[in-house]
């Protein structure tokens, strides 16, 4: 029960940060791209550096799970003009996986 509450609290904070960074007036969804790349990098580091089980789940499943979003990302991709939407999806995924790999590598270095 404690774990669930801590995870939910982390998710609340993550969702608020995501909303604060998202600006609907932009023609390109910078906010979602920023939280998804930042969250991928931070999750990679977190998984390699944090040992405490409750802190790990609060940050990984809670804060960073709530910060990053897949649903908004795909809906943004399909509601844009085809070429722009395609570019947005490809850039998000390629850069996101790169950020995650970098985060894992940096995290491994920090604990080595």
């Amino acid at each position: 029960m404690t774990t669930l509450l801590v995870v939910a609290a982390g998710g609340a904070v993550g969702a608020v940060i995501r909303a604060a960074l998202s600006c609907r007036n932009h023609t390109w969804p910078y906010g979602t791209l920023a939280v998804n790349l930042l969250g991928s990098f931070a999750l990679g580091i977190t998984l390699r550096t944090i040992d405490h089980p409750l802190a790990l789940i609060a940050i990984s499943s809670g804060l960073l799970g709530g910060l990053t979003t897949f649903s908004t990302f795909v809906v943004e991709g399909v509601t844009r003009p085809r070429l722009q939407g395609g570019a947005y999806v490809v850039i998000s995924v390629v850069a996101g996986v790169g950020c995650a790999a970098l985060g894992l590598a940096v995290g491994s270095r920090l604990t080595a």
């Binding site: 608020v16 991928s40 709530g66 990053t68 795909v74």
Partner: protein
Amino acid sequence: MSSAAGSRRVWSAIALGGALGTAARYGMDLVLPADPISIGNVVVNIVGAFVLGAMVARPMRDRAAAFWRTGVLGAFTTFGAMTVQTAELGPIAGPGYVIALVLAGLAAAVVGLRLGRRGGGTT
């Protein structure tokens, strides 16, 4: 209601929705297998993409949109777990996993948008 109070109500809706969406995702992670890939992550992302697609096709008040779209569905699905899983799967299985999941998510969003428009008549 002042606009500051209205704004506070929107932010509290996002926080509450984010907490509930995250708790639901965590629950799925607990009951679904995590090895060799997190099935919970795949399920929440595809289901969430479909439901969000159906929701954006319908008109919503600001606070309801903040709660459901940004809060609940934004937090129910996750991008970071997918990219880290892809990196950990390596150069052979990783690309196959991420391409399949993203294509499934895009398809689910398209189906959701179409069903939402048909039901709501808001095109």
